[in-house]
């Protein structure tokens, strides 16, 4: 395979007669994706956030949880009273805001990734089963998902956390359950559309069993909508987890979680704008980056949206 990809451009480049040779799908996808500036910006921001999260221990000037008595509610450095020692100021109990934001990136990205992994895993499995084994199995799975969908997502998450008890892990689980129906529906719809095609019948004729049909034949063909939903789902997960944190049901203090930070600083909103603004801006940037990325993926993966 590697030998072929290496020699393919060598043939295609000099000869215009061979211009009709189709690009490798990965190259085609790359081209479509890069053509969308929003998506590229999204990816760059996501990369920056990933680096921030990975190197938090190295670049954060202070510990995110240790208070210091150098000053409470110090403003950012460009305001009078601020200093470069705490570039974005400090919070009501003297913790460095910048350090907390940097460590918060780690938590938020982790929550986003974990939630999406969980809901994609279970959502795909349930969706595949529902799409493949029609009848009672399908009805019971889909009606259960409908029930989950009837409840406002945040309310349901609150109920689940209330049952399980507050904490990052439980918040994560709650958000994953709330997101589950979307993946189940997408996969089921894709599976139903795909199983009607002849290649599935052809695979059955060649003697493929149900498991093989589901996982090897049909699932790869459902990947495009799933990938798009998953990338958009990360932003929803981050947002929902932040909301739970804000309500005091997600990460517990002193964990530097953006939503929790917002909640802690609520009472100082008039006196110290920076303690609420910066966590909010971080949430905004992250969610926007993932949304742009997701939209870019959809445009590149969905042939109907191609120009």
């Amino acid at each position: 395979m590697s030998a072929q990809t290496a020699e393919a451009p060598a043939i295609a480049a000099p000869s215009t007669a061979l211009a009709g040779i189709p690009q490798h799908p990965a190259m085609e996808f790359y081209g479509d994706f890069v053509a969308n500036p929003g998506a590229v910006i999204g990816v760059l921001v996501i990369f920056a956030l990933l680096i921030l999260a990975a190197t938090a221990d190295l670049i954060a000037p202070y510990s995110p949880v240790l208070t210091s008595d150098t000053g409470f509610l110090l403003p950012p450095f460009w305001q009078t009273g601020g200093s470069l020692a705490h570039p974005l100021g400090t919070d009501p109990i003297g913790r460095d805001l910048l350090s907390r934001l940097i460590y918060g990136t780690r938590l938020s990205l982790l929550i986003g990734a974990a939630v999406v992994t969980l809901s994609v895993l279970f959502g795909t499995t349930l969706g595949l089963i529902a799409g493949f084994f029609r009848g009672v199995v399908e009805i019971s799975i889909m009606r259960l998902m409908d029930i989950i969908l009837t409840l406002p997502s945040l309310l349901l998450a609150i109920v689940i956390v209330a049952i399980l008890g507050p904490g990052v892990m439980n918040a994560l689980l709650a958000v994953a359950i709330v997101q589950l129906p979307f993946y189940v529906r997408i996969v089921r719809a894709a599976v139903i559309a795909e199983t009607a095609k002849d290649y599935v019948t052809a695979a059955k004729v060649s003697g493929a069993g149900s498991l093989r049909l589901m996982v090897k034949e049909v699932l790869p063909n459902c990947a495009a909508p799933l990938i798009v939903q998953a990338s958009l789902g990360i932003s929803t997960a981050i947002l929902d987890a932040a909301a739970l944190g804000f309500l005091g049901l997600g990460a517990q203090p002193p964990t530097p979680e953006w939503g929790t930070m917002l909640a802690d600083a609520r009472e100082f909103i008039l006196r110290a704008w920076w303690v609420v603004t910066f966590p909010g801006v971080m949430i905004l940037i992250t969610v926007l980056a993932f949304n742009l990325f997701g939209d870019g993926l959809r445009d590149a993966l969905d042939p109907k949206l191609k120009r």
Binding site: T201, V205, E217
Partner: protein, 338 residues
């Protein structure tokens, strides 16, 4: 011994008004190395009958048959696993729409090699070599580089050749071709048919070709089965069927060929195939038949041996007494009404 024996095969779909029968009492037998054509309009149950044979009737359909034997195996008695190993290897099928009958996510080579590895237990290298051989046999130029092509990068004809390569990969004893040329250009159609014929001759496999193109049947089939509304209407050697059709439906089908009416208005068969929900009580073709009489409307004819084939009609066309009988039946009806 016949390679394939189907006796009284029906496919039933449950419905509120009793079971529907898109395939109704089909019986066929096929010798090794024989080419059988199945013709009929869309919805006449041709494809479904073959899917039923393969055990692939979609949910909630049910298959009932008096006998279903293939190459010495009783398909009604074999386990699901046995049936699967049988259908992949000894019975193969190619489909109408080459664009969708290959998995768009994998390269052509991967799909051929996968079949070989599973059914022939070949290792990677062997399978690759064999795949190249197969692609060569089905007339694909530069087979080695085509192995890494995706189906969407190939034309319809090329995809159909790949499909055929996969189907013949395990030397099947029976190949079912479900409208293999319908979606292809006319120029490619002839190539694909020739390819199928050559392969069939070389390997001595039995071939069932399902089509609604009378020309295709005339060109390659040795024997023809005409299906209508899930039932076999007529079965006969190809030449006899074309020279002297015995069933009014066959006659109408042949008359409806564009090439039989050069310079005139095209002939059609008035009406439409009866709905599954509203099957006529008598002969299924009676609402559209120009020879219909009270007898055909009331009683459904049986498929019976007739002039070297079989026909399902009260008044087969070759019957010398038919005109007199039709007249008598219509007359007696008028008298009872009066």
């Amino acid at each position: 011994m016949a390679a394939l024996e189907i006796e009284n095969l029906s496919v039933l779909f449950p419905s509120s008004g009793g079971p529907l029968r898109p395939v109704d009492g089909v019986s066929l037998s096929l010798e090794q190395g024989e080419i059988l054509g199945i013709v009929g309009e869309s919805g006449s149950g041709k494809s479904l009958a073959m899917l039923a044979l393969m055990g692939l009737v979609p949910y909630p359909g049910e298959v009932s048959a008096g006998r279903l034997r293939f190459d010495g195996h009783d398909l009604l008695a074999v386990s699901e696993a046995q049936r699967r190993s049988l259908t992949g290897k000894d019975m193969a099928m190619i489909f109408q729409e080459p664009a969708t009958s290959l998995n768009p996510c994998f390269t052509v080579g991967f799909q051929i090699i996968e079949t070989l590895r599973v059914h022939e237990k070949m290792d990677g290298k062997q399978a690759r070599r064999r795949a190249i051989e197969l692609l060569e046999q089905v007339g694909i130029p530069a087979p080695e580089s085509r192995l890494s092509a995706y189906p969407h990068q190939l034309s319809g004809g090329m995809n159909q050749r790949v499909m055929i390569a996969i189907a013949i990969a395990c030397n099947p004893k029976l190949l079912i071709a479900d409208e293999p040329t319908t979606a292809l250009d006319v120029t490619i159609q002839a190539q694909i048919l020739n390819l199928l014929l050559t392969l069939q001759r070389e390997r001595g496999m039995a071939l069932i070709i399902i089509t609604h193109n009378m020309g295709v049947v005339a060109e390659i089939a040795q024997r023809v089965v005409v299906m209508y509304s899930g039932q076999i209407m007529e079965e006969r050697a190809t030449a006899d069927l074309f020279n002297a059709p015995q069933h009014p439906y066959t006659e109408a089908l042949l008359a409806a060929r564009p090439e039989s009416r050069i310079g005139e208005r095209l002939a059609t068969i008035p009406g439409a195939v009866p709905s599954l929900y509203a099957r006529p009580r008598g002969c299924l073709f009676s609402p559209r038949c120009q020879y219909a009489t009270p007898l055909t409307v009331d009683t459904r004819p049986e498929l019976r041996p007739w002039k070297g084939g079989a026909v399902r009609c009260h008044y087969p066309l070759g019957d010398l007494t038919r005109e007199a009988r039709i007249r008598a039946d219509r007359q007696s009806d008028r008298e009872t009404v009066a």
